[in-house]
Structures are given as structure tokens and as C-alpha cells.
């Protein structure tokens, strides 16, 4: 059964990837890329990687297609063929591919429990994390404590991308007249408005659940941040951008993005203040397990704040571009 599922998912992935490469309709390519994300999320699920599946579904089938569609709306969906580069590309890809295939020949068999990867570092996480950190989701333990510094880096990457997008596009939309800010809203669609309004509160509630339940089940700051942002994005799709900006303006979102990183960084410094190493939460409370627990909750909060803020920032900036494009079209 597992084998059939595995083979089905892999062949679907392959068909999707080849079709994306082949089609010249960018709209189809973006939608299929979303499907590719969803398929790989399913694959991760079947591999037992629930946290990764959750994240990939949110990113690969959610945020990423959303941003690409906004870009397409401005740049157009037609793509030109470039036959002259195909042969060069085919040759280099074949060389790299053959190198990779030959590398796989001496790899440990797929799923084998005796593979070196399962024998050296990972066993400690499975056997000792309950005693050392005290939470059942091992992925959260590793992500937020054993390898917390990688996760700090991850938050900084998101922050950097947000700032990069802001520096590229952010300072153009502000010169627009206020009244043309919301052509995205479709006031006539009553069904959309009602459904949108009904959906937003449960989405926010779910985000909070994912944020604080990440230690016991799949989820955590990143996923929660994305879901939280999606709540606002949905609202702005239905009611217009300025309806959202009345609640959260751009400079507030920008400040929150920086704040999340600062929260994470400061929790790390508290480790030094408590006489231990950077990002060591053991000294934050009386006993080390409670300290770990507290530290993880605090840094996950930092992750959630930055991720939600950056996602909203990026979406606002991209939609402002869309508005700007339409204004320019009207003018000409």
C-alpha cells in the first residue's frame, strides 16, 4: 500500500514537472507549480514528515502561487519560446543528472533503518529530547532548541527578504491617490463578502492554535505566522487593501517584522545573562525543562510575529503594484 502511494505520488510529481517545463502558458505553469507544491506536501506526509508537509502546503501551494499570480497579472501570461538555448541546457542538465544518478548507486537503500543518517546524531533527539526538553514533537525540540541558531537564521532570512521587497517596490505605492487603492475589492459579490467575514475569525483562531500547539502536534511559529497573514490577505482580497490598512498600516507591519527578530535574538541573550551560552534556555526558569519550555514558546512567538508581518508586508506591496499597474493603464 505504502509502495503504491509512493509510486503514484512520484509519477504525478514527474508528470507535473515535465508539463510545467513544456507549457508556454505561464498561468497554467503557476497553477501547476501550486499543484506540484501540494503533491510534494502529500509526499512529505507519506514520509512521516508532518511539519514539513504543513509548511510546504502553506508555502508551495499558498503563498508562492499567490505572489506569482500577482506578478503575472502585471507581466502577462504569454511566454516566448527560446529554442536556441535548449540544447545547451539539455547537455548540462544531462551531465549533472548522470553525476547524481551515479552518486545514488552507492547510497544506503531507501528507508533502511541501518543507514548512517539514522545511527549517528538523530537517535539522541528521539531518545533524550523528552527528558532534556520535555515536549513530544521532536521536530520542534530540534528546531527550537538543539538547532535553534539555524532557526534564528531562518527568521533573519525572511526578514531580509521582506526588507528586500520593500526596498525594491515599497516606496512607490505611497504616492497613489487614496480613492483608487481598492480596485481589488469586488463589492458586488455578496457571497464572497459574507463567506470572507465568516472565515476570518476561525482562521485567526486556528493560527493561534498552531502557534501554541506546535510542541505537541505539527505546527509552530512559521506555520502560524503564514496562517495569520492569510487571514488578513483574505480580508483584503474581499474588502480591499485600504480596509486592512486601516487596521494595520505598513509602518506598523514593518516594525513588527523587526520586532520578531529582536524577540528571538533577545531570548538568546537571556541565555548569556543567566550565565550559560547563547540560546541556552535552561537557566530561564527554576529547572531546566521548564526553562526550555519557556524559551521555546518565546522564540516561536518571535518566529510567528516576523513571519506574519513579512508575509503581510510582501502581499501589501505586491498588491499595491497591481493597483499602480491599473492606474497607469487607465491613464494611457
Amino acid at each position: 500500500m505504502e509502495l503504491i502511494l509512493d509510486i503514484t505520488l512520484l509519477s504525478l510529481l514527474l508528470v507535473t514537472a515535465v508539463y510545467i517545463a513544456w507549457t508556454r502558458d505561464l498561468f497554467a505553469a503557476v497553477m501547476l507549480a501550486g499543484i506540484y507544491g501540494l503533491l510534494s506536501a502529500s509526499f512529505f506526509m507519506s514520509m512521516g514528515a508532518v511539519d514539513v508537509a504543513f509548511t510546504e502546503a502553506a508555502v508551495g501551494a499558498g503563498i508562492s502561487p499567490l505572489l506569482m499570480l500577482s506578478t503575472l497579472a502585471i507581466c502577462g501570461r504569454a511566454q516566448r519560446a527560446n529554442p536556441q538555448r535548449a540544447i545547451l541546457a539539455l547537455i548540462s542538465v544531462t551531465v549533472v543528472g548522470l553525476l547524481l544518478i551515479s552518486a545514488t548507486l552507492e547510497m544506503p537503500a531507501f528507508g533502511s533503518p541501518d543507514a548512517p543518517a539514522h545511527l549517528h546524531v538523530a537517535p539522541r533527539y528521539l531518545t533524550d529530547s523528552m527528558r532534556e526538553i520535555g515536549i513530544p514533537n521532536v521536530v520542534t525540540s530540534v528546531l527550537a532548541s538543539y538547532r535553534a541558531f539555524d532557526t534564528l537564521g531562518e527568521v533573519v532570512v525572511i526578514f531580509t527578504a521582506g526588507l528586500g521587497v520593500l526596498s525594491l517596490l515599497g516606496l512607490q505605492g505611497e504616492t497613489l491617490p487614496r480613492q483608487v487603492q481598492s480596485p481589488m475589492a469586488e463589492p458586488s459579490h455578496l457571497v464572497l463578502r459574507v463567506v470572507g467575514k465568516v472565515l476570518v475569525p476561525p482562521i485567526m483562531l486556528f493560527a493561534l492554535y498552531v502557534q501554541f500547539h506546535g510542541e505537541y502536534g505539527p505546527g509552530g511559529g512559521f506555520q502560524a505566522g503564514v496562517i495569520f497573514a492569510v487571514g488578513f490577505i483574505l480580508y483584503s482580497l474581499v474588502f480591499g487593501l485600504d480596509a486592512v490598512e486601516r487596521i494595520v498600516n505598513r509602518s506598523l507591519v514593518q516594525a513588527l517584522a523587526a520586532l520578531g527578530v529582536l524577540v528571538y535574538g533577545t531570548v538568546g541573550v537571556l541565555g548569556i545573562v543567566s550565565g550559560r551560552n547563547y540560546l541556552d534556555y535552561s537557566g530561564l526558569a527554576g529547572d531546566s525543562v521548564t526553562g526550555q519550555h519557556l524559551g521555546i514558546i518565546a522564540i516561536e512567538l518571535g518566529v510567528g510575529i516576523t513571519v506574519a508581518a513579512v508575509m503581510m508586508l510582501v502581499f501589501f506591496v505586491f498588491s499595491a503594484q497591481l493597483v499602480r499597474g491599473r492606474v497607469v493603464q487607465h491613464a494611457s
Binding site: D6, I7, L10, L13, L14, A17, I20, A21, L26, A29, Y36, S40, F43, M47, G48, A49, D51, V52, E56, V59, S64, L67, M68, T71, I74, C75, Q79, N82, A86, A89, V93, T94, L100, I101, T104, A109, F110, S112, P113, A117, H118, A122, Y125, L126, P136, V138, V139, V142, T151, E154, V157, A161, G162, G164, V165, L168, L169, Y216, P218, F318
Partner: protein, 117 residues
């Protein structure tokens, strides 16, 4: 034996190469970014396959399971997914600006317009 042990990795290699092919061969910048996405996602699939243990359940400790899949590749890929979307967002923002200042998102047009002036 070899086939059943390694077919997974071979498919992943094919996926990676499809993505990489798009990045190199396509002149449309958005298509390049989609290719980059497919390439990266395929590397994620490789990592997660490495973490698979036959019969293992998701690495959330409980009384019901004794064998778990390896949590470390999961953690690494969570980070890598986030890096991937960050890169995509920045790349798309660049594409929008390129479209504004060159009037096109096709590599050919951009190169000719740059050589004209």
C-alpha cells in the same frame, strides 16, 4: 533489489533536472523562477526521502510507536523551505521592477535593450 532500493532517488534526480532545465533554457524570467522553485522543492523531496525509516511514524513521541522517521532532515528542510519562499519573493519583486524599467520580462528583450544604449 537495486531498483526497489533506489528508484525514489532516481525520480528525485529527474525532478531536479527538469527544474534546472527550466532555469537554464527558458528566457522568460517568471518561468526561470518557477524552474528554480521546482529544482529546490525536488531537493527537499530528496532530503525527506533520506529521513524515511521503513515502518517509522511521524517523529512525535507517543506510547503507540517505537520506530520514528529521522527528525533532523525535517528540521533542515523546514528551514530550506523558508529560504526558498524568501528567494522567490525577492526574485518576483525584481521581476516587477525589471518589467517597469525595461518593459519586458523576456531575457532576449532585456539584453537587446541594454546593448542599444
Amino acid at each position: 533489489m537495486l531498483l526497489s532500493a533506489l528508484y525514489n532517488y532516481w525520480v528525485v534526480v529527474l525532478l531536479m533536472m527538469t527544474g534546472l532545465y527550466m532555469v537554464i533554457a527558458q528566457g522568460n524570467l517568471i518561468k526561470k523562477i518557477i524552474g528554480l522553485n521546482v529544482f529546490q522543492t525536488s531537493v527537499f523531496i530528496f532530503y525527506i526521502s533520506v529521513g524515511k525509516v521503513t515502518g517509522g511514524s511521524a517523529p512525535i513521541l507517543s506510547q503507540l510507536a517505537t520506530v520514528y522517521s529521522n527528525p533532523l532532515p525535517h528540521v533542515l528542510i523546514l528551514t530550506a523551505i523558508v529560504v526558498g519562499i524568501a528567494t522567490t519573493a525577492l526574485a518576483l519583486a525584481l521581476v516587477l521592477r525589471i518589467r517597469q524599467s525595461y518593459g519586458s520580462v523576456e531575457e532576449q528583450d532585456i539584453l537587446t535593450r541594454d546593448s542599444q544604449c
